[in-house]
Amino acid sequence: MFDEMLSDQSHRGREPYRKLLSWLENQDLKKLSKKSKMAEELFRRVGITFNVYGNEDGEERLIPFDLIPRILALDEWQKLEKGIIQRVVAINAFLQDVYNGQEIIRAGIVPDELIYTNPAFLPQMCGFIPPGGVYTHVVGVDIIRTGIDEFFVLEDNARVPSGVSYMMENRSTMLHMFPELFTEHNVKPISNYPKELFNSLISCVKTDIPDPNVVVLTPGIFNSAYYEHSFLADEMGAELVQGTDMEISNGQVVIRTTSGTEKLDVIYRRVDDDFIDPLSFDSKSMLGTPGLFDAYRKGNIVLANAPGAGIADDKAIYSYMPEIIKFYTGETPLLDNIPTWKCSDAESLQYVLENLRELVVKEVHGSGGYGMLIGPAASKRELSSFARKLKSNPSKYVAQPTLALSTVPILTKSGLAPRHVDFRPFVLVSPDTIKVTPGGLTRVALKKGSLIVNSSQGGGTKDTWVLGV
């Protein structure tokens, strides 16, 4: 098991963590715990909460925040950054191709039925290139680490990746509570993220529009990520709108204000494709704006991310990512994929069923850690009932080996204790540049030995530092 802080033969901790470790040695555990409580109190008062689905009274919960930062050295970060940019370039090229020339299908690299039968594929997008040629303005690439030089991409989030507000709030909490740590460490700043998001959004607007009007589109206060939507709108100085606030007037998207209507240029939407426009997509949706997609196809509005981008982060497409990267960039992938068995394939299914105990099985279209099986942690009964599900609908699942996720210590009542982590850096795409914010969201499984880091399943978060030098 690789611990990012302590797996080092010198017993002084790994290089990036040494200053932190010596600082920690001089801290009083009780005082730290007290500060930890203070942080929690602050989060609640400010209302940094998320809603839990399937919970009747719509209770709002805190995502537990751990005080011990996760630290990456500059060279580690630069390696990741390069790999991420390569991947995001390929994702955008793939999307443009899938919705236009479809050369990758003709080249026999991705099977056509995987595209056409995929619910994330939107035929409405065919033959259309979004403003500025950008499909995924914001991407979150989930990365796990298993050793000093072993990083894997767990999944790509090309639809509406969330979590960036926690990256920001975690940092400002740390700055507030331990300013002295930042004088001793050269931590790369992340505070520009909202400004850069804003710039990358307006970079796709036609140049003849002087001050583009940007809004954030939210499903509303009961959405699990509502806090984040309001946070980003606030930081960008953008209006936070819902589908019912908008209408189409002369082909343009406008919002209804207290003093009339106002034209929009960019919608940073945090609602899923299905709920954008009841005329083009789910006709039962109450969240959408009728006619929005038509205005989009006329080029009158920027939608970020583009509808249909989900075909690139689908768990079935994921297993083809190495070939996709090679096809569009001509390069070898810098970041590895995790080997993945597609259960739709009879041989793979056989293997998965035989080795269920060692594997992680996920739903192809699932997210948030719901509906997955972690073989090593499952009971006999869970294994056999999952095997039945697999056999009855194999194409719904993919399987991966259970990887030994790296650990970073968290603060517990009895001191530091290692817990498994993953990592989601955030990428901003403009027509001519791709930027990765130096940091990201580190999610941590708070239960000893647990591999599930999702906040909906009791995971927590950490501040993530990229050291300058």
Partner: protein, 312 residues
């Protein structure tokens, strides 16, 4: 500003004002009831009846007791006008527009909600009641302070103030309505001391008891009560004061948006009407008719404001 956000701001302020009024009324009636053998049964029944909730109350509780009534008014979630329901709704509206609020305003509202949820999680007992009520009222005061001290005085502010004053006018009107018979010239016949204690409850629930007592040097009569609550421009809960504030906030909006509004016309008319009525001798006003008329007009004002500004 989005029309929907205007609506959220308006109702966030309305619900919070309503919850404060409810807490003040409970406080006043409690004060009155503690010295009575029947625990102020009539007064409590009156509050429950004015919100048309008698039926729900009977469903929820075996019979009347003061603490049953108080818990029903404070923490029953099925009661749409209980303090906890109102604070929750106010905060929900606030959460939908938190980008329009300063951190301090939002936090004062959020903290009021968090502490009310904690205080009202279990049935309140008589011992804790004064502190619970004080805490709830203090939350509203903090909110007001943060509002005046930190918010831009722009349209966001105007919609919040409109919500507050439309609601407050309604509350004062309904309070006077429930006691109008005690304010009639014939009140003396019913019994001076009984009427006195009734006005006192009403004045206290509008936090007007001390100020009127001070202004009148301890000599309060039914006419001075009516005059004070309806016409006095110094009294922040009088009808006149509320109308004046509504006119002033609507005038700001009309100037900002460079438009004319029906709601402003109506609010001005109501103000003029009040001025004319004040010139008359208060003995000659048909109080019951007068109050009913104003409840209806004030209600109408609320819906016309919604129409004028796309509040949906």
């Amino acid at each position: 500003m989005l029309g929907r956000h205007g609506n959220n701001l308006f109702w966030m302020a309305r619900y919070l004002e309503r919850s404060e009024n409810m807490a003040r009324r409970i406080q006043a009636v409690l004060h009155h009831s503690l010295s009575r053998e029947d625990e102020g049964r009539e007064e409590w029944a009156e509050i429950i009846a004015t919100s048309e909730l008698a039926h729900l109350f009977e469903q929820k509780y075996d019979g009347f007791s003061m603490m049953n009534a108080i818990n029903f008014l404070l923490r029953e979630r099925q009661n749409l006008n209980s303090v906890i329901t109102l604070i929750t709704k106010s905060r929900q509206n606030g959460r939908a527009v938190r980008t329009s609020l300063t951190q301090e305003v939002w936090m004062s509202l959020n903290e009021t909600w968090i502490s009310s949820e904690a205080l009202l999680r279990r049935p309140v007992n008589i011992h804790d009641l004064p502190i619970v009520l004080e805490e709830i009222i203090k939350g509203s005061s903090l909110f007001r302070g943060a509002l005046y001290g930190t918010m831009l005085h722009n349209d966001i502010f105007n919609f919040l103030r409109l919500g507050t004053y439309v609601e407050r006018a309604d509350n004062t009107l309904r309070n006077v309505y429930s006691k109008y018979h005690r304010l009639l010239p014939t009140a003396n016949v019913i019994g001076v001391s009984e009427s006195q204690s009734q006005w006192e409850v009403m004045l206290r629930s509008l936090s007007a008891w001390r100020s009127l007592n001070w202004l009148k040097k301890g000599r309060i009569d039914p006419f001075s009560v009516a005059d004070f609550l309806i016409f006095d421009q110094r009294m922040p809960r009088s009808i006149n004061f509320c109308y004046y504030e509504v006119v002033s906030n609507l005038t700001d909006l009309a100037r900002l948006y460079k438009k004319e509004y029906k709601s402003l016309d109506l609010a001005r008319t109501l103000c003029c009407q009040l001025k004319k009525d004040r010139a008359k001798n208060i003995h000659r006003i048909d109080l019951r008719y007068f109050i009913t008329e104003h409840i209806i007009k004030n209600n109408e004002l609320g819906s016309i404001i919604a129409d004028d500004f796309n509040l949906i």
